[in-house]
Amino acid sequence: MTELTQEHATDSKVWSQDFIKGMTEEGESLSEINPESGPLGGSAAKAHSHGGDSHGGGVGVPDSSRAGRLTSYNLADFPAITGREEEWRFTPLKRLRGLDRVGIKGVKLNGPAPLVEVSAPDGVTVETVGREDARIGTAGIPEDRVAAAAWENFSEATIVTLPAEFAGNADNVTTLTLTGQGDAPAASHVVVIAKKFATGVVVLDHRGTAVLSENIEILVEDGANLTVVSIQDWNDDAVHASAQHLLVGRDAKIKHVVINLGGDLLRTTPAARYSGTGADVEMYGLYFADAGQHLEQRLFVDHSTKNCKSRVTYKGALQGDNAHAVWIGDVLIRKQAEGTDTYEMNRNLILTQGARADSVPNLEIETGMIEGAGHASATGRFDDEQLFYLQARGIEESVARRLVVRGFLNEVIQHIQVPALEERLRESVERELAATPQ
């Protein structure tokens, strides 16, 4: 909780473990006596009609609950986006360059997909396959219109497979470099599969210029331990919507890292689901929004199985006029997901005037029988008093600023645990800082 005291907490609610444990009995008895009138009655009622079906449709369930969000492989199932929807209200649609209007008035999504360059250790297979490949769709289903458009329009998919019991580590990383092929709206599809008991690291490195809508499926089979790092370091004019679907098996572990640095508009929507018990999801994010950039991160963790854990840590720095970062963290603990342990945290550091960070954690709990559930969100400003303090110790202003931001973001970088990648990201952060408007 020291996280919150040092800054101006704009929106923070935290349930300590004790509180939840205290709630356990009360929640139980309420649901038995009168499920409709309890504090969780509304969402508990939804779980009755949709519980157990993680891909359930959204009929009759309010837009505000993630349990009821529409999912479909078909673009036609999604209504046109107006910008008033909960999931689109922060996104400047005009800057999506048509990704939101595919199929409307002849808008197409048929530009050349990013060029994929592969660097993989022996044993890991990387294939280019057609749409009919049976592995496509095993880990994900689109949850918004833009992702559905990409699903309908990609022509070839790249599939990365870590074979069963593959022993990967920080020294034999699989890297896919996806280089944008210009500004014609394009679709792409990537599937990453860690077979049973495989361990390893996969890096998806996005660069160049693109207007791209992408689906990434990440399938972590039972007992596997996979790290996926998705780096978005595009040219300044790029637009990228990336739906990342995680499906995590029994006793499996996924560390998912999103690095959003370069591009005009980045909208990254990772969603983690569980297919077995005892699984562990760690999601990290780092973003650095410069003047005019819109970096949006929307997380979803869907606890539908027992005794699973999730930890979400996203940190962002913002600088310059109209730098805008959005972080939405949805966590749903379904009625059957007893023994869930979840905590999500977002922190923003605003370096200059004119930048804006929106941070909204949402926690829906349909059972009281959990280990713990909490979230924290704080947005702080690097203020004049901090600057004065550091300068009063002889440290120049530019160095002081760097010291603070480096330390702030390092908390995420050090969790990647791939030294070469950590070094590169530290350099990227330095480069962003060097451009700090004074």
């Binding site: 008093e385 303090y389 002889g394 202003e397 160095v399 702030f408 973001l409």
Partner: protein
Amino acid sequence: MSTLEIKDLHVSIETEQGIKPILKGVSLTINTGETHAIMGPNGSGKSTLASTIAGHPRYTVDSGSITLDGEDVLAMTVDQRARAGLFLAMQYPVEIPGVTMTNFLRTAKTAIDGEAPKLRTWTKDVKAAMAQLRIEPEFAERNVNEGFSGGEKKRHEILQLELLRPKFAILDETDSGLDVDALKVVSEGVNRSIEAGGLGTLLITHYTRILRYIKPQFVHVFVDGAIAEQGGAELADRLEAEGYDRYLVAESATA
């Protein structure tokens, strides 16, 4: 030997009610090896003097001068002043998220000295200084002042004083909010810095308590933005016995 010279200093701040003068002609000269105590009631301008010397942007110098060995301090940025040898131990040290004490101390030392300290001796120096100030070793890995108690923050200010070795230390109510034990530890740290030599000290305090541990040669009483009385250590004893009442009475009588 160095000299910090303040001449006829007038300082104001901007408030919602308009510009408010705080210091109304302060002159003071401190030489290396001297310890000066500035005492006075709340709102008399003691802390304004400290912050103005350090260069806090909130304070506007309307007239007068501050020089360090003849160099114009007022023309320097905050960090230049620190590198020139001025150190302000703050009344309310701020928390700096994301920056560990270790990193901060090394960066500050490098900035002040103009070169990075030798790693082995530096680590040893930091550890020894921390131990003397009864600072637990794990504080080295904590973020600057984050979650520190009031007493811990003050001890860290003195830690910096001992490690950065300035020419002049301005201690802004370093004693406030400390219990007797912490006050002793902090005072010992200040005395070590004084005994090490090469330091002039400006000790700003509301209470006489700290003067039992740190002995000033000069005492200046601040009232309403100006020095109302000056003397030796005996003046502090008199203030301890009588308080500030007689200055305040005199002020209201002339008002």
